[in-house]
Symmetry: C3
């Protein structure tokens, strides 16, 4: 029997209502010894891919845990819930791709099971709040050692489309994975892609017409200047020292970095 002391918890519920607290409470009632570690509850509403990225980039730093994540535009439709067993943890949430990048960051998907057994949910299941009524109870029971296959039959899980990127000599173009609190823009490209494009530290670049430089960290450029760097998750980031790259670049879906 595998037990977990921790449940990590990510949603797009925000913190202004009692939604997150109700889920904490449900877990606390079923599994009083478990500790809940909030990843974030400020994923933009319905933003499955953003939630998936934040979860995947956080789980490598967490203790062994059941990872409970709910960003669920399909609640109340025929989408299934899913328990995903990864090498280094187990995940539960809607089967819409949200959990997969985190499972890969935890060593890869080993098996997955539908959440369909009626034995591990609240007595009354609402049509709109499966986080509280279905997924939190499943997470708590997983933490207590209930085996993943107890929740339902094996399933093939949904996956998100792979984010787009293009790497050529002197040009790196890639989809935006997200914008963080400091306005740094994270791209779907790695340190290797940067090197492959010939964009080494010190290279002057244009990023969406804005001049900048490839650098190692914020302090390598003047305050207000734009830099391209490898961020704390190993992704290519566009940032402004003590400022916001997002404010400079606008709300874009792709970013093109051009050597000049």
């Amino acid at each position: 029997v595998v037990r977990y002391e921790w449940v990590s918890f990510l949603t797009d519920y925000g913190l202004a209502d009692g939604f997150v607290a109700a889920c904490h409470g449900v877990i606390g009632r079923i599994a009083p010894e478990v500790r809940v570690l909030d990843v974030t509850h400020q994923v933009p509403a319905y933003a499955v891919r953003r939630g998936a990225m934040v979860l995947a980039q956080t789980v490598p730093y967490l203790p062994p845990a059941v990872h409970l994540a709910v960003v669920d535009p399909g609640v109340g439709t025929d989408r299934h819930g899913v328990v995903v067993v990864a090498r280094d943890g187990v995940l539960v949430g809607p089967d819409n791709g949200l959990l997969v990048p985190a499972a890969e960051a935890l060593g890869g998907v080993l098996r997955a099971y539908e959440v369909s057994s009626s034995g591990y949910r609240l007595p009354l299941v609402s049509t709109t709040f499966h986080g509280r009524d279905v997924f939190a109870p499943v997470a708590a029971h997983l933490a207590l050692g209930v085996a993943p296959e107890e929740f339902g039959p094996p399933v093939d899980i949904q996956r998100l489309p792979k984010p787009w990127k293009s790497v050529t000599a002197g040009v790196l173009e890639a989809e935006v994975l997200g914008v963080d609190h400091f306005g740094s823009v994270q791209l779907a490209a790695s340190a290797d892609d940067l090197t492959a494009a010939g964009l080494v530290a010190g290279t002057p670049v244009l990023v969406a017409e804005v001049p900048g430089v490839v650098a190692r960290t914020f302090g390598d450029v003047a305050p207000g200047a734009l830099l391209v760097l490898v961020d704390s998750m190993g992704k290519v980031g566009v940032a402004v020292n003590r400022g916001s790259a997002a404010a400079l670049l606008g709300d874009v879906e792709r970013v093109r970095i051009l050597r000049v």
Copy 2:
């Protein structure tokens, strides 16, 4: 002696200052074994009724607890603090009606006591921060098993006015209880009221001039479409699938649902 392992905690303090943390700290110093479960600290400033609704709709899902709640426009006036004993828990906060709906959700008010004993507060009590100086210490002592009547004499508690509603054939009109993070508008009406008005699933309706339909859940209508449903708390809600009903209806105090 009744002891509690949990203190739930709701305020309008926000999370940007150290106010919430100071209260956590005060509880941790007095009752180190207690676990604090944050309900929310983003009740709009001074919005007693909104805080009361969020608390009442969350406590049924929490473990047995002392419920500490502070939304307190009258701090520093002659309003009293109060300990409310409910069938399934005990509550502490200002005596302005904030605690009563939650106490009712916890099986009803059994007794109430003024918070006036000077033995269970911080040595210095500020004129503006009774959450930290008075109510958090009382909550911690309640969790440790101090009897409710130790804090002061019995009192008759303040209650909020009952929210307004009107149910006739084909028309349900009711006060807005609140708007959640997803922009869903919750009304002071129940599933029974919806049935009594003849608004069964599938009925086309007008909500403040906007066409919609009575439905079971979001997925029953197209993205962007308005629906009337029974929400996860058993209340009548107005929502937009993957959108915001509040953005569509504006900042209204009452909503009228009309069968068409």
Copy 3:
């Protein structure tokens, strides 16, 4: 060996990304028994002085703890990390003045050590996220009882400039320390300064042209009226009963209170 059960945690990371959670996770992996108490993560980005004030005003109410604080505009430059030993606790973060007011609130700075030993950080240290890779591991090891001098050689710490104030008969002028969630403006002046300026309770005043009165608490004035009071931290505050002084005064760096 001094061990701590609690780590308090303050940053400017916001709650929308997984940054705070990754630090919680790092602490949980190194020191599973430790409890993390979040002070706030909504310090405005890079606002070292604001972070320092919030921390200093909160720590007196916390249990004995390692205080982990990261507001770090200089990350990736040659600024050092520092462990500060105070009489009533130990603090860790960047050496930019952030920790000093809190250390003084905890009985004063006894000793300080550079964070330079490579033995107490994550195997890979990013150039932009020392909270996760350096400071959280140090905090966890401090909590486990590793001695402060193990992290590096003694250092002279950086201090913030003392905030400005001027007290004359009938006039108190002082720098703004911060604006809280309710829009109350806190000044770098104490109750003694107020008395020294002859601004006793009941005195009519002008605050940046707005008429108000020196009062004991919100309820002493009508809703919407401006008051000058001693706030819950013993500082001079400017507030509006059930309103926002900040909205009335605008985004000012200094405030002048004039007896009329």
